[in-house]
């Protein structure tokens, strides 16, 4: 039972860290640029498809990952220049409509280029087996360990970037009061482009890392967009720390909640009913958490604006 708990905690950590990569970009764009970007999930999909394409071309995982990140960041820069810059300052409804249209355009474009069938990315051979954490008792897939490692490293990197560098200071200034930051001499437009490209790069990293575990398919962005939004609402919009805490909370509740609920329900009802009811209730728990946060702390757990 203890080992099951540890393994599920690792799974929750892995899911949470991947959510963090997406939520970090989303919360920065939302917080700093005051822009609701529904197409954030599409950047994740584009990153995954580019990684799959580069993988087929190069036959090697890590170079493909790197190229996909750079290419997606470039796409982010282009999108910011020609579209998102114009959307800034418009009403949130216009932004939602425009970026929703972008989702449809992205999905159809990918379908035309790559076809409707899911693509596979092969994982590095050396990482395709399990690691024995506790002999004979606890195994964990090596590749998922890598994801956890990369996720933690990126979280640390982002923390240092936001809290220890000049760009990070501008970003924090922009998040708490963009007009004042501009008046104080922060060049806000290049900052926005940088933030957007950073968000796109993080999306691509998540998409490419998850590619070998999940299939790379059209519409994969929408399924992860809702949890990502839940994360930033829970964590507080614009706050990097909030995104990390929110993502880990959501990841843990989703994974451990399923285990705990199914286990708990088995004490009350028969096992078949518990097996059906547990996952259904667990998927509601994240939304319930969000509702509670909105009710008791509408600004989120770690609000960027004081």
């Amino acid at each position: 039972m203890l080992y099951l708990f540890i393994e599920q905690a690792l799974n929750g950590l892995q899911y949470g860290l991947m959510l963090f990569l997406l939520a970090a970009g989303l919360t920065l764009v939302f917080g700093i640029m005051d822009l609701i970007n529904l197409a954030h999930g599409s950047l994740y999909m584009i990153g995954a498809f580019l990684a799959a394409a580069f993988y087929q071309w190069l036959g090697s995982f890590f170079p493909a990952l790197l190229l996909a990140i750079i290419a997606t960041a470039l796409i982010g820069v282009i999108l910011e220049r020609i579209l998102y810059r114009r959307l800034q300052g418009m009403s949130h409804l216009s932004q939602v409509l425009a970026t929703f249209a972008l989702i449809l355009i992205a999905n159809e474009t990918i379908k035309i280029i790559f076809g409707a069938q899911p693509l596979m990315i092969g994982m590095p051979e050396s990482l395709s087996g399990p690691i024995e954490l506790v002999p004979d008792e606890l195994y964990y897939p090596a590749y998922r360990m890598l994801i956890i490692g990369v996720g933690l490293a990126v979280a640390l990197g982002l923390y240092l970037l936001v809290n220890r560098t000049r760009i990070g200071m501008w970003m924090r200034a922009g998040a708490s009061n963009p007009q004042m930051a501009a008046v104080m001499g922060v060049r806000i437009k290049p900052l926005f482009t940088f933030v957007f490209a950073l968000g796109a790069a993080l999306c691509a990293l998540a998409g490419a890392l998850l590619g070998p575990l999940l299939a790379v398919s059209v519409g994969m962005g929408e399924s992860i967009l809702i949890p990502a939004f839940e994360v930033i609402v829970i964590g507080g919009i614009g706050s990097m720390r909030g995104a990390l805490v929110g993502a880990l909370l959501v990841g843990m509740i989703d994974t451990l909640g399923r285990l705990a609920l199914t286990f708990g329900l088995k004490l009350v009802v028969d096992s078949a009913t518990a097996a059906t009811l547990g996952p259904t209730l667990a998927s509601m728990m994240v939304s319930l958490l969000m509702v509670c946060v909105l009710f008791f702390r509408p600004q989120g757990l770690f609000p960027a604006r004081g």
Binding site: M1, Y3, L4, E7, Q8, N11, Q14, Y15, K111, A116, Q117, P118, M120, S128, G129, P130, Y139, Y140, P141, A142, Y143, R144, L213, L214, A215, S217, V218, G219, T255, R258, L259, T262, S271, A272, A275, T276, P279, T280, S283
Partner: protein
């Protein structure tokens, strides 16, 4: 105005008279899943169906044939809209193609109300096999429980005592585990239902490991199965707790994607590639030639669906407007089939044999399915007795 009405009346009389004559063309609506994680299944059904039409010289029932293909994207809402279009605008004579049972149950009533024959090439929900069976519904493949029943029997015969079960939480998932447990008598170590379309199974695999099961049975068709088996192999479990599956998680689509890790996995099916009959040999050879991949059970079902419709329309002398005659023909006609032989039970589901297959390594290093033996002979589904038609 009066004149117009007269013309309309004359037309409708002519139409009514025409119903007794042979139709001059046939329109078939194929709505199937062509995008998303379940796309491989729909694509195989479509390609199998098309190959049969090609073998029939482009004509079903000797009539000029129009095949309308639509993608339901595995979404019941989209499927309902397409069904409306098929019935009201396209006025299809016969519909086919749905892969997933939740979609079949969502669109079935509309087709039945419009008295449009539905020949399912895959989805075989227990509802339509039992109390809710319908004169307009035929399933050319199997009843959902069947392949699972066959595997339940095999796992039971092999002497496993504590099996863990994983299936998606939707009608066919429930049918699957019910079917398995009908013939497997041992203990259930863990029964896990997942979300339909789920792609990450880390949590479920951990649960299976912790349950101490001596074998695992999964029903996860298409992309779900591909992901599960890959992740199961990565977790090191495949070597410790053997995996059993129906043909849906063990056919060439899954084997090709998962690769050598699948070697030694057993699965059950109503069809196998080496079947020794002329129809199947031609189907397998031409499918590989046309599509450059090995056919799956889904492709064989698509092929058989087209062959059944063709044979029935011919047997009814092309009178597709005469519903009673066409139904009689569908029920009784002996259509050419890739699986050697089958016939319909009283609920319009096939009575047929089920076989065991194993994934083996070929001389060139690739892996594919190989026939092992027969598990069930001329098996009738468990719901047929509840069908009063």
């Amino acid at each position: 105005m009066i004149k117009k009405t007269c013309i309309a009346l004359a037309c409708s009389t002519a139409l009514a008279a025409g119903s007794a004559l042979a139709a001059d063309s046939i329109k078939i609506g194929m709505m199937t899943t062509l995008s998303g994680p379940g796309a491989g299944l729909g694509i195989d059904i479509r390609d199998g169906f098309n190959l049969a039409v090609k073998h029939l010289g482009g004509k079903i029932g000797d009539l000029p044939t129009e095949l309308i293909v639509a993608d339901d994207a595995q979404n019941p809402e989209t499927a309902k809209q397409i069904t409306e279009r098929f019935i009201k605008r396209d006025k299809v004579d016969i519909a086919t193609g749905v892969v997933f049972s939740n979609i079949m149950l969502a669109v079935g009533p509309a087709f039945f109300a419009a008295e449009t024959f539905y020949v399912s090439a895959n989805a075989g929900p227990s509802q339509y096999a039992g109390a809710d069976c319908n004169p307009f519904f035929f399933n050319v493949a199997w009843q959902n429980d069947n392949l699972h029943e066959a595997m339940g029997k095999h796992v039971q015969d092999k002497g496993y005592k504590k099996v863990a079960l994983v299936a998606p939480n939707y009608p066919a998932g429930k049918d699957a585990l019910t079917g398995f447990k009908r013939f497997y008598q041992g203990a259930v170590a863990e029964e896990v239902y997942t979300k339909l379309g789920q792609l990450d199974y880390a949590a479920e695999i951990a649960q299976v490991r912790a349950s101490g099961a001596d074998a695992l049975y999964i029903f996860l068709p298409g992309g779900m199965g591909i992901n599960f088996i890959k992740q199961y192999s990565q977790s090191g479990m495949l070597k410790k707790t053997p995996l059993f599956a129906p043909g849906f998680s063990g056919d060439e689509d899954v084997v090709k994607a998962v690769g050598p890790a699948m070697e030694g996995a057993f699965n059950t099916s109503h069809w196998y590639r080496e079947m020794d009959n002329a129809v199947n040999q031609r189907f397998v050879a031409d499918f590989q030639k046309d599509f450059n991949r090995l056919p799956t059970l889904y492709a064989s079902q698509g092929y058989d669906a087209a062959m059944l419709i063709d044979a029935a329309v011919k047997a009814a002398d092309g009178k597709i407007e005469d519903k009673a005659a066409l139904r009689k023909a569908l029920e009784t006609v002996k259509a050419p089939t890739t699986r050697g032989e089958y016939h319909f039970g009283n609920n319009h589901y096939p009575v047929q044999s089920y076989y065991l297959r194993e994934v083996v390594k070929n001389a060139d290093g690739s892996v594919s399915n190989k026939y092992v033996g027969k598990v069930m002979d001329k098996h009738t589904d468990a719901y047929a007795k509840d069908c009063k038609m």
